[in-house]
């Protein structure tokens, strides 16, 4: 494969975050610390000319801030809490669609699954952060991790 999937995913995600959440993203030079103890992790699978898995993880507090910004509410309002999982899932869904087009072009159909959201504790978050395929971002002074794994075609 000529293009690096991690780079394509990183570029795609940055554009998605900026245009959907109206925030700017940066790439950290050092590990970004967070006081959050609860994290959310969204994953989505895609199947087209190649298949694979994309993922996105962030502290719950950042998810709340992003949802609140979009909904025009304060982060502690109940309506924001109801949409915290949705924000991460939608960001991943849009990223996956654009990633697939950037990777495979516009001629074929790429099917993608519904994003699955799980909670992570601090240990699982650190484990994800340490994975070699993890791409790290800073959004609103908080860390956000993305990852992509391409599956080999037999």
């Amino acid at each position: 494969m000529a293009e690096d999937p991690r780079q394509i995913m990183a570029d795609t995600l940055a554009a998605v975050l900026e245009n959907m959440t109206f925030t700017f993203v940066d790439s950290p030079e050092e590990e970004v610390q967070t006081t959050d103890t609860e994290f959310l992790h969204a994953t989505i699978t895609f199947d087209g000319p190649s298949s694979g898995v994309l993922g996105l993880a962030a502290p719950r507090g950042l998810c709340a801030e992003l949802a609140a910004g979009i909904l025009g509410l304060d982060a502690d309002e109940p309506e924001v809490a109801e949409n915290i999982s949705d924000i991460l899932g939608e960001l991943l869904n849009v990223t996956c669609g654009n990633f697939a087009t950037a990777m495979f072009g516009e001629t074929g159909v790429v099917n993608q699954s519904i994003p699955q959201i799980t909670r992570l504790d601090e240990t699982a978050w650190r484990g994800l952060m340490a994975r070699p395929e993890a791409v790290k971002f800073i959004v609103d002074d908080a860390p956000l991790i993305a990852h992509v794994v391409m599956e080999e075609r037999r």
């Binding site: 245009n19 939608e90 849009v94 074929g108 159909v109």
Partner: protein, 128 residues
């Protein structure tokens, strides 16, 4: 002239993003209606005068494709332009949607400038 716009998406977050982008695009809005699927959208379309529809494709109960088909089959609704909003970039899927009666397609994420130009195109060009 302010428009009555219907936004159809099962995600409240995406509906809010579209709403916010329309605001940033300075599109003049009279009423902004929201529906979580095609079924809810049809009920709103039959109850209110709507000038323009933004619709997702994948939704429970009634998806965007069926909504477009139903609108095309209804003499009172077929002239209302539908802009399909999706993250899918497949040319095959876009062609299929346009054949069914969608007037335009935009990919998420989109900029306010793109939305403004598209709304202007949809509302100023007469369609037959």
């Amino acid at each position: 002239m302010p428009y009555n716009i219907l936004v159809v998406d099962d995600s409240k977050i995406i509906r809010a993003v579209i709403k916010k982008t329309l605001g940033l695009a300075e599109v003049e809005i009279n009423e902004l209606y929201e529906a979580a699927n095609g079924k809810e959208a049809l009920a709103i379309l039959r109850e209110h005068q709507v000038d323009l529809v933004f619709s997702d494709i994948h939704m429970p109960e009634m998806n965007g494709m069926e909504l477009i088909e139903r609108m095309a089959a209804d003499g009172a609704l077929r002239e209302i332009p539908v802009i399909v909003v999706s993250s899918e970039g497949s040319k095959e899927r876009v062609d299929q949607l346009m054949k069914k009666g969608a007037r335009a397609y935009i990919r998420k994420p989109f900029t306010p400038e793109l939305v403004r130009d598209l709304v202007q195109d949809m509302m100023e060009v007469p369609h037959g």
